[in-house]
């Protein structure tokens, strides 16, 4: 076998191996998207009931709560950025990091200090590399977040919000996550999570203007709100985590699909080149034989004479 042909053959073999891997990763990601979507659906009843309950307290009483009161001047904000632990997901992490940076720049233009909280190793690595300060970070659960994980993330954030701004607390909490729109579309977006506007929650819970009954509160409206709001925030963060996970898997699936397709194309063009090289080799061999025998024939013809 000629050297050229051998090189092509070797490259085809290696690309074929890569293609097998990306194909497997594509299929794994596809099955995980479905699983993650199912988790989003399973968490919906809880979120819906919670929203209803928050609305009921918000409209049924005039209680004030640190999590619903807007600060007059916002001096410090927290940004919670949800990324993934692992890459191989196309622009998934880059997009959410970009949105977080735009948000941070906007908030800083408004004269606010920004504290960054990050979920996922990718985001942490990005910020560490640029030597930016991270208030707190979590990782290790982004592929399959559980409610306990959401609680773990929400705890310090709620604490920071309840603290006075002068003592290092924050006034607002923004969240940057990737919304799972469909298998093909996932959009990174930012959203203000806290302080909560009860009117907006009410609109979400009863878009048709359904009137909620007057509730009795056990033990009291304040206590119910006190217990309810952190749960609501947790459930919102849980939902964002689940959507980000689903989006990440969808992005991985797409990235791996195009990698598989590219590998297929590469194999095809390499096979063409290898075939051409083989043909060239054969042609050369034939012409060598023909040339050789012609020369031999000429030589013998000459000696005969």
């Amino acid at each position: 076998m000629g050297a050229q042909l051998r090189v092509y053959k070797r490259r085809i073999r290696s690309v074929t191996a890569t293609k097998k891997i990306t194909k497997a990763m594509e299929m794994i990601a596809a099955s995980r998207v479905v699983k993650a979507q199912r988790k989003v659906a399973a968490s919906t009843p809880y979120a819906a009931e919670l929203t209803r309950a928050v609305t009921a307290v918000g409209t049924g009483s005039n209680t004030k709560h640190p999590l619903t009161t807007k600060a007059e001047t916002v001096t410090r904000s927290a940004v919670l950025l949800l990324t993934s632990d692992r890459g191989l997901a196309g622009a998934f992490n880059a997009n959410s990091i970009k949105i977080a940076e735009q948000l941070t720049a906007r908030l800083e233009r408004e004269g606010q200090e920004v504290e960054t909280y990050i979920v996922g190793r990718r985001g942490v690595a990005h910020y560490n590399f640029r030597e930016r300060r991270i208030a707190e970070s979590w990782s290790g659960f982004t592929d399959e977040p559980s409610y306990a994980d959401a609680k773990k993330v929400a705890g310090p954030l709620i604490e920071a919000l309840e603290k006075d701004t002068a003592e290092g607390g924050v006034d607002e909490l923004h969240i940057v996550f990737t919304e799972f729109v469909s298998m093909m579309t996932q959009t990174a977006l930012d959203d203000r999570l806290l302080p909560l506007s009860l009117e907006e929650v009410a609109k979400e819970a009863a878009p048709k203007g359904e009137i909620l009954p007057l509730f009795d509160f056990e033990p009291s409206a304040e206590d119910v709100l006190d217990a309810l709001l952190p749960r609501y925030v947790e459930s919102r963060i849980y939902n964002a985590l689940l959507q980000s996970a689903a989006s990440k898997h969808a992005a991985t699936r797409r990235a791996m699909k195009s990698a598989t397709d590219n590998a297929g194309e590469l194999i095809e063009s390499l096979s063409r080149l290898a075939n051409a090289a083989r043909q060239a080799e054969i042609t050369q061999e034939i012409s060598e034989i023909v040339g050789g025998s012609a020369a031999l024939a000429d030589a013998t013809a000459g000696s005969d004479r």
Partner: protein, 124 residues
């Protein structure tokens, strides 16, 4: 025929149980509360403890609930819990082991969770 309660017991990550019931007993921060059809609209904070649901075919469903809420309106009762387990899902041995572990580690909340689980099983 008396009115019925439509009960949904929902944990953060799944719907644990739903169906018709005649009576639900749950523990709020200010004591046990029983809800029957036609109760006044109510929103309460739940303590971790067992929740007893009397279904309208005469059966009883018991669940261990750890933290959450109860909201009742229009004969619809929702029990929202961060963690909720039906008594027949609970692994007694595991709960006992968890109780031992929590006791030795001096983890009050874990101990309470394990206790609630065991109580829900024994009430079965």
């Amino acid at each position: 025929m008396a009115a019925e309660l439509h009960v949904a017991l929902v944990a953060a990550d799944r719907e644990v149980w739903s169906g018709q019931a005649t009576l639900v007993v749950a523990r709020t921060t200010s004591g046990d509360i029983g809800v029957m059809p036609g109760h006044q609209p109510l929103l309460g904070v739940l303590e971790s403890g067992p929740v007893t649901i009397r279904t309208n075919d005469g059966g009883t469903v018991i669940a261990a609930v750890h933290g959450g809420f109860l909201s009742f309106a229009d004969d619809k009762l929702s029990l929202l819990a961060e963690i909720a387990e039906l008594s027949d899902e609970i692994d007694v041995q595991r709960a006992e082991r968890a109780l031992e572990r929590a006791k030795s580690a001096d983890d009050a909340s874990a101990e309470r969770r394990a206790e609630v689980r065991l109580r829900a099983v024994t009430a079965r």
